[in-house]
């Protein structure tokens, strides 16, 4: 993988929102005093009348978004993933998802790569929280190019969507021409020995790992699971049938996220040897994103290692 360009997915989010604002006149944006971090400030500067800073009041923001949706607008509410899905969980559950309102929740600073702010700011449960609420769609873009497609698709569909956006600069490796369909996994690489399902920033790590594995004679398929819900059952089952081994990788707790979603599909349809790489039921801590990803096993090196362990077992 020779990637020269890096770009923060949240920067791409801000740009995409600004662009959509021009065509989607119904779009309104809300933030909770983090517009300069989530990058909704760009939309706010261009369309001040359609931008509402709600102050540091995430619960209030989500229910205000619900009210705007009932009024016929398409609200996009942003804050950090921890405060959006954590502080405002029950507002999302009861006032947005229960009545299936057309609210898009785009939360940045997700996962460990928040870095130095520490464990209090690293959301490692948000996929789990959002995935378990009926009517919610959950999308985790893997890079800056996909971010724009994901936001567009989320705005085009009717109903609540959670978009999980990451903070640091990250490799841009998907192409404008690549397809993006909510609920349809993107198979980035074929392989017969194992299928690696990854989401968010871990997709790139999985691709790097697959190249290294290829050098060692192991053929790994890599799947970009940009949509965690609805999960692409067909892709999971057909790859499990083909490779007999499944590995999942996510910048999230191993409880309730991508790994759990894939396991739910496989256990009922096609029980398959499986390993979930994620945060092992503990909190994060301060450190650089690189240090933290390494410490918690979210690296291409660990993907290679875990793959080899699985292959040895069988």
């Amino acid at each position: 993988m020779n990637i020269s360009e890096t770009k923060s997915v949240r920067i791409a989010y801000g740009e995409a929102l600004l662009e959509l604002g021009g065509t989607e006149k119904n779009l309104v944006v809300l933030d909770a005093d983090l517009a300069h971090a989530t990058m909704t400030c760009k939309f706010g500067e261009a369309y001040p009348k359609r931008f509402f800073n709600m102050g540091i009041a995430e619960g209030d923001m989500m229910d205000t978004a619900a009210g705007l949706a009932i009024s016929g607008f398409t609200p996009v509410a942003s804050t950090f993933a921890l405060f959006g899905t954590g502080r405002a969980y029950e507002q999302i559950r009861n006032s947005i998802c229960y009545p299936k309102l057309n609210v898009k929740i785009a939360c940045t600073h997700s996962g460990l790569t928040v870095g130095e702010d520490g464990g209090s700011h690293q959301s490692i449960e948000d996929i789990s929280l959002m995935r378990s609420v009926p009517n919610m769609t959950v999308i985790v873009p893997c890079d800056a190019v996909q971010m724009k497609k994901a936001l567009t698709a989320a705005v085009e569909m009717d109903g609540p969507v959670y978009l999980r956006v990451s903070r640091p600069p990250a490799p841009v490796f998907t192409k404008e021409s690549d397809s993006f369909e909510i609920g349809k996994a993107n198979i980035l690489r074929n392989g017969s020995d194992i299928a690696i399902f990854a989401t968010g920033l871990m997709v790139y790590e999985a691709l790097v790992a697959a190249e290294e594995l290829e050098n060692q004679g192991v053929h790994a398929a890599v799947v970009d699971m940009h949509t965690i819900k609805p999960i692409d059952k067909e892709s999971i089952i057909s790859l499990a049938r083909k490779t007999k081994r499944i590995l999942t990788v996510e910048e999230h707790s191993v409880i309730g996220g991508l790994g759990s979603a894939v396991a739910e599909v496989l256990s009922e349809n096609m029980p398959t040897a499986m390993k979930c790489i994620g945060i092992e039921d503990c909190f994060g801590q301060s450190g650089t994103p690189e240090q933290l990803l390494k410490e918690y096993g979210l690296s291409s090196a660990n993907i290679v290692e875990q793959t080899k362990i699985m292959i040895k077992k069988a």
Partner: protein
């Protein structure tokens, strides 16, 4: 400690904050510098709080605006809770000094904070616990002015009034700024004094950089009522180019800025 001593320790703490953020290359200078005098007067002139005491048998202070952790860590180190040299490990991998206060990791930290709006409720719990145990220790919480936009803050004020928590003092670091701009540009706060009075507080307004005024406010007697100190402060206080600048909320100073700030504080040597 007398007023001269408090001025001196406040200057030293501000120097620590700048060095720590310069070394960490991330963090929050503005809101750390604005609450330095509030913290130093509490820890060096008012609270019954020393390393070695059982934490449940002394006065306690919750830094509800947890992003000002560097100021708290410096004060705790200067009180002897841990070595001053450790301050430069702030925000680094493996450090006891996390980006936001972690009561399990850092000696002297009385509650884990960082998610805004929660500290006042924790303080209400501590104050209720103290009353239940028939203790006489005091509980303090420091909140930000952007932070009080959280509804939960007002829920805590309602409880503090309902349970007549005269062992509880909430201190507002009123620097007028948050992340996206001034308080009023983001979400108008209105008349804070009147709002708090309506919630049942004894409100005392002070210059939050005047040590004498702060001490008098802490010592003003109160009965069957909680106390709310409305401290008027300057975000970035003590470093000319940071003062009242919203851009210095969450940005670390570079090498040249650290040097300049330390010269201004009289901390370069």
């Amino acid at each position: 400690m007398d007023i001269n001593g408090l001025q001196e320790i406040s200057r030293i703490v501000r120097g620590d904050v700048i060095r720590m953020l310069g070394e960490a290359q991330s963090g929050h200078p503005g809101g750390s510098l604005s609450c330095v005098d509030i913290l130093t007067t509490l820890y060096f002139a008012e609270m019954d709080n020393q390393p070695g005491q059982n934490p449940t048998e002394r006065d306690r202070c919750i830094l509800s605006k947890g992003h000002a952790a560097p100021a708290l860590y410096s004060v705790l180190a200067r009180k002897g809770y841990f070595p001053v040299e450790e301050l430069l490990t702030l925000r680094k991998f493996g450090s006891r000094l996390q980006g936001h206060p972690d009561m399990k990791k850092t000696p002297g930290v009385d509650a884990s904070t960082g998610s805004l709006g929660q500290g006042s409720s924790i303080a209400v719990g501590l104050a209720l616990g103290e009353k239940l145990k028939k203790g006489t220790h005091k509980i303090y919480a420091i909140v930000g002015d952007g932070e009080i936009q959280e509804g939960q803050f007002w829920e805590a004020m309602m409880s503090a009034n309902h349970y007549k928590l005269d062992n509880l003092t909430i201190i507002l670091d009123h620097n007028g700024l948050q992340i996206d701009g001034t308080n009023d540009a983001v979400m108008t706060l209105g008349n804070i004094r009147k709002k708090l009075e309506a919630f049942g507080a004894m409100v005392i307004e002070v210059d939050g950089h005047d040590h004498q005024a702060l001490i008098e406010a802490y010592r003003t007697p109160v009965k069957e009522q909680f106390k709310f100190i409305l401290a008027q402060t300057v975000k970035g206080k003590g470093v000319s180019f940071m003062e009242n600048q919203v851009g210095w909320h969450g940005k670390a100073p570079n090498g040249a800025e650290v040097r300049q700030a330390l010269i201004e504080l009289g901390c370069s040597k």
